[in-house]
Point group: C2
Chain length 100, copies 2
DNA sequence: GCCTATCTATAGACACTCTACATGTAGAAC
DNA sequence: GTTCTACATGTAGAGTGTCTATAGATAGGC
């Protein structure tokens, strides 16, 4: 989850609601992450120093916009390589061997 | 986890300890799954009807050997496709360029 | 006798996700 | 003018599963 959030915030800062929409869009509509997952996760990541937030009012609605910090960029790089390693490991167990 | 267990039991029945070693071997030593994870998981899978077990005594030591049931084979196929879909989805968010 | 490897198993802590709830604005539909 | 949908944030509590730590037991090497 953390990696996904950091990833959608890589290109541009977004607020919570937009992040959820971005996740859906990027995954082709598959990912449907509930607010009860996203908002606490964003706070956790801010607490960890990977994100920074600012309040803004757009069209009478208040938004909390999150952006990646430099520590967040480093963390994202780590999450990416961790994911690749993880995916490779799982695949090595799960997928039948073709070259044995 | 469930998928990994079903997968190592696909070719041949194994007992818990051997399953842990098989997971390590297949993953190139990366996966180090503790017994506190494996044994409850095996019971859960047996409860679900995906595995069946038999006790055997080999060299004075008691072993509980698990084997895949036909329902387990079906479940494994489902887990495999679920994993592929999941991995594709995560990758599409994490690495947008590769999944366009 | 002691240590390591083999073998199974449980209890409790820990972390995270999900459901459901709680609150409020803006604009379109009727 | 009221109702519905979309926008927008947030918390509480349940549920699930993994990990750490612990426990007991046999076999074989030193």
């Amino acid at each position: 989850m953390d990696a996904l959030l950091l990833s959608v915030l890589e290109a541009e800062p977004l607020h919570g609601y937009a992040i959820i929409e971005a996740l859906q869009a990027r995954s082709g509509g598959v990912l449907n992450v509930p607010t009860g997952t996203v908002y606490p996760a964003l706070r956790r990541l801010e607490q960890a120093g990977y994100l920074a937030s600012e309040w803004a009012t757009v069209g009478g609605r208040k938004r909390r916009t999150y952006r990646l910090t430099s520590a967040g960029r480093t963390a994202l790089a780590g999450e990416r390589s961790a994911w690749r390693e993880f995916a490779t490991t799982i695949a090595s167990v799960l997928e039948p061997r073709t070259a044995e």
